[in-house]
Symmetry: C2
Subunit: 104 residues, 2 copies
Amino acid sequence: MNNIFSSIPADIPMEICEDLLQNEHIRIERILSQGQSSPPDSWYDQDENEWGLVLKGSGIVVYDDGSQVKLETGDYLNIPAHKKHRVSWTDPDRVTVWLAIFYN
Amino acid sequence: MNNIFSSIPADIPMEICEDLLQNEHIRIERILSQGQSSPPDSWYDQDENEWGLVLKGSGIVVYDDGSQVKLETGDYLNIPAHKKHRVSWTDPDRVTVWLAIFYN
């Protein structure tokens, strides 16, 4: 057993991604952010679907159609494969803990 | 976008399971418990692996080898397919919110 809120550094100078589980069909990842965002005009274009949940903190996901979603603690969304998206903002004042489930 | 902590009834007379996402490889389920447990000598013996995370609350998972794990908020574990287990206790005084990911 592990705890999803353990081993969170006091400072997150760069986003920290950690695989919690992986097989041929799914990958469960914990992502820690604090103020990081995707570079401008840089889009995630993934072969896998992604189900993402904010466990703590806050972030904004932007899609290439211009729509955007601000996620707070407990908010989750599903991003189909190849739906282009980027993270335009994460809270600079506290750590945001994301749970991301990538799946086929 | 939805919130994992929304639509939680004030009383949970029976466990409430809700599929958040499902395809051929994975199923993401939210489970709400308050004091429920598996019937004595009743074991889950699942064809799928299960990755479970306690988002809020507390529960105890027991395996058929007699070992048991108490999970508090943020604790997660992985239960391989056909590893027999049961939930012997959930907190009667507050709602426990589980995130369960069943996968092949």
